[in-house]
């Protein structure tokens, strides 16, 4: 070892780079990307995005919902939205209650996330979700109307003093791993909340049961990537009832 160590080291490293380079960018690609030309293979090895010809787009048989959920989907409510929403929402009061709290086993909308309400309205309008009255009601709503109604209901206070009773059932706190059922609470608010998942506390039991059953039977199918259908169809009727009862505070 002497003062040329530095030089030697540099040379050695360069040599290694070359070896690695040759193996990684010339030799292996020839094998792994044999379907591509030299430069294409080289690009693939580098990680330049390219699509694998064999797997092109396929015909779209049916889609669940045409809403694309992003954080920008609804800007934070402008006061103007809330006001117009309030006037538009007058005709929703018969089922959803004057303060967004239903006496008719319709979902409570007070304090529901705006994105959730907006998406459902969009789906009602586009027919992705069907309901005798809601389809009718949503038909004439413009996109702005729907945002405003959503913002209005989101602005209302949730049912005061509502308490969940009893211990959460297994399906709510653990789900059922081996059936790929995640805990309800991991998306719907007990444990954590994910974008566009509705807040379920205090929703009417009958409504929750009906919707879960509809998901399970594919009657309702406006959940993106079948997220709820997949879960609901793995839930037992008992689990469905337990979850519904729990969130309705009747557990």
């Amino acid at each position: 070892m002497n003062d040329n160590l530095g030089k030697w080291a540099v040379l050695a490293v360069v040599a290694m780079m070359l070896v690695g380079g040759v193996i990684g960018f010339v030799w292996l690609p020839r094998v792994v990307y044999s379907d591509q030309g030299f430069f294409a293979a080289w690009c693939s090895a580098l990680g330049v995005p390219r699509s694998w010809a064999a797997f092109g787009a396929r015909p779209v048989a049916k889609i669940s919902s045409d809403v694309v959920i992003t954080h920008e989907l609804l800007e934070p409510a402008r006061p103007a939205d809330v006001g117009h929403g309030a006037t538009l929402a007058l005709r929703c009061t018969m089922c959803h209650g004057p303060t967004g709290i239903s006496y008719a086993n319709s979902p409570n909308l007070a304090g529901q996330y705006a994105v959730v309400i907006y998406k459902q309205l969009r789906d009602y309008k586009s027919g992705m979700r069907a309901n005798a009255i809601m389809s009718e009601m949503a038909r004439s709503l413009s996109d702005t109307d729907m945002r405003e109604v959503a913002d209005y209901y989101a602005s209302l206070p949730r049912p005061a003093g509502f308490q969940l009773t009893g211990a959460a059932p297994a399906v709510v706190k653990w789900g059922a791993p081996m059936r790929n059922i995640a805990p309800c609470g991991s998306c719907h608010g007990d444990i954590d909340h994910t974008l566009a998942s509705p807040w379920l506390k205090g929703e009417p039991r009958a409504y929750l049961r009906a919707e879960l059953t509809a998901f399970a039977s594919d009657q309702r199918h406006n959940d993106i990537n079948a997220q709820m259908r997949a879960i609901a169809d793995r839930m037992t009727p008992e689990e469905i009832d337990q979850a519904a009862a729990y969130y309705a505070g009747e557990h």
Partner: protein, 437 residues
């Protein structure tokens, strides 16, 4: 057992009542009780029926039924929700039901509650119950009201748990509030004024609890004396209770006694019609008061000192918004929607179609009421003297914020009105104001 006590009481004549009054004077309020008190008020000598009758009258004057009856509920059975910034409270059942009502109460209990704002168990009452006003009620009147309440149909309606947020659900915290805003003590006639004035004062300050709405409510949910009757926004309901002082611009300064009496009795007058929460007051309470009492109230109100309720200049909405375009727009809307009833020069066709020109409701600093009238419309309450009221339709669903802002602005500045312009934002926020309290 209490029942028997009170029934015996009822069987006793007025003398007994007088004795009882005397007793409790001795008991607690000697220093507060004016010597002339009993004679200053009716009912020193009366039969049980008369007492109950008078009790009913006073209960109406106090408008007990308004809060102690829920929409589809039985009279006085309670359960009426009262939303506050601190949570929702539910009025209790005050029918003579032994379990849930005041069946087990004595006249003492009742007076004590009314007078000191303590529940029967000694804990504090939330000031949604206007005991700071009711404390002014005399023992005699309290007993009469109690007798009357004992005479109504008992309803076994359980009381509903209040939905107050922490920490407001702790009644003992009210101590601070009471220190600030509650001054216990019956009404003390002012010798500088005649009986009529004092009677009016007794009703306005006491049972009428006018100040509860017409005195601004501050952040702590209390009325400040220095702002007494100068008007204020009613929290949650989002109606503006106008000033009742003798102030020329905002108050009753320009109203004649007759106009005030007519307004309170009929719910509609040459000056305008009642609307919003006041409809309820007229419908359930004021229309039943005697001419003498209404006149007395009018006299007292007319005499309230002005609090010069003109807003500080800085607070005015910028006149910059007041463009010709807005006024033209407002004028167009007015012609299309309002003129047919309120006429081109805004003089209206009172009492059915109230005047808009020179009308405090229109001009007052807060534009809440005129905006809400346009948004929600309204019918004057049906009363003995106004059995077939006229009404104004809601425009919320056919006019945009801009339309409404323009037309309200137009009305507020036309025909010599000197109100301030309103913004579309104001209109918009009021769209979500609750229609039913």
């Amino acid at each position: 057992m209490m029942r028997n006590v009170s029934y015996r009481l009822m069987r006793k004549s007025a003398l007994a009542t007088a004795v009882l009054v005397a007793l409790c004077i001795g008991a607690s309020h000697a220093q507060q009780q004016p010597a002339s008190a009993p004679s200053a008020f009716p009912g020193a000598q009366e039969s049980l029926e008369q007492t109950v009758k008078r009790g009913e009258y006073l209960a109406q004057a106090g408008d007990c039924v308004a809060c102690h009856t829920k929409h589809d509920g039985q009279p006085f059975a309670g359960g009426f929700p009262m939303p506050t910034p601190f949570g929702t409270l539910y009025s209790p059942n005050i029918t003579p039901d032994a379990e849930y009502g005041i069946g087990k109460w004595s006249a003492d209990d009742f007076y004590h509650m009314l007078h000191t704002g303590h529940r029967r168990d000694g804990s504090f009452i939330y000031p949604v119950m206007p005991f700071p006003a009711y404390t002014k009620v005399t023992r005699a009147d309290s007993d009469a009201i109690f007798m009357y309440l004992r005479s109504v149909k008992p309803i076994p309606e359980p009381n509903r748990e209040n939905g107050l947020r922490f920490p407001y659900d702790n009644r003992s915290l009210l101590l601070g509030w009471r220190e600030l805003f509650f001054h216990e003590g019956e009404y003390r006639p002012d010798s500088k004024h005649n009986d009529e004035w004092n009677r009016g004062g007794y009703l306005v300050e006491g049972l009428g609890h006018c100040g509860t709405c017409h005195t601004a409510i501050n952040k702590l949910g209390g009325n400040e004396d220095r702002k007494a009757y100068a008007g204020g926004l009613i929290p949650m309901q989002n109606w503006y209770a106008p000033s009742l002082t003798s102030n020329k611009e905002a108050g009753l300064g320009e109203w004649s006694l007759e106009e005030i009496v007519e307004f309170l009795r009929a719910g509609a007058s040459q000056r305008g019609a009642v609307y919003g929460p006041m409809s309820e007051v007229v419908h359930n309470s004021l229309q039943y008061l005697s001419d003498a009492d209404l006149r007395a109230m009018a006299v007292y109100l007319k005499d309230l000192p002005s609090r010069h309720e003109t807003p500080p200049p800085g607070m005015l909405p910028g006149a910059a918004q007041l463009s010709a375009a807005v006024l033209a727009h407002g004028h167009a809307i007015y012609k299309a929607q309002c003129q047919s009833c309120h006429l081109g020069n805004g003089v209206g066709q009172p009492p059915g179609y109230p005047p808009l020109a020179n009308n405090q409701s229109i001009e007052m600093q807060s534009a809440v009421n005129p905006i809400r009238m346009v948004l929600n419309g309204g019918y004057a309450p049906q009363t003995e003297t106004n059995p077939r009221p006229y009404g104004m339709p809601p425009f919320a669903q056919i006019l945009s914020d801009a339309d409404i802002a323009a037309v309200v602005t137009y009305i507020r500045v036309s025909w010599g009105n000197h109100g301030q312009p309103v913004t579309t934002a104001e209109v918009n926020t009021l769209r979500s104001a609750p229609l039913l309290d």
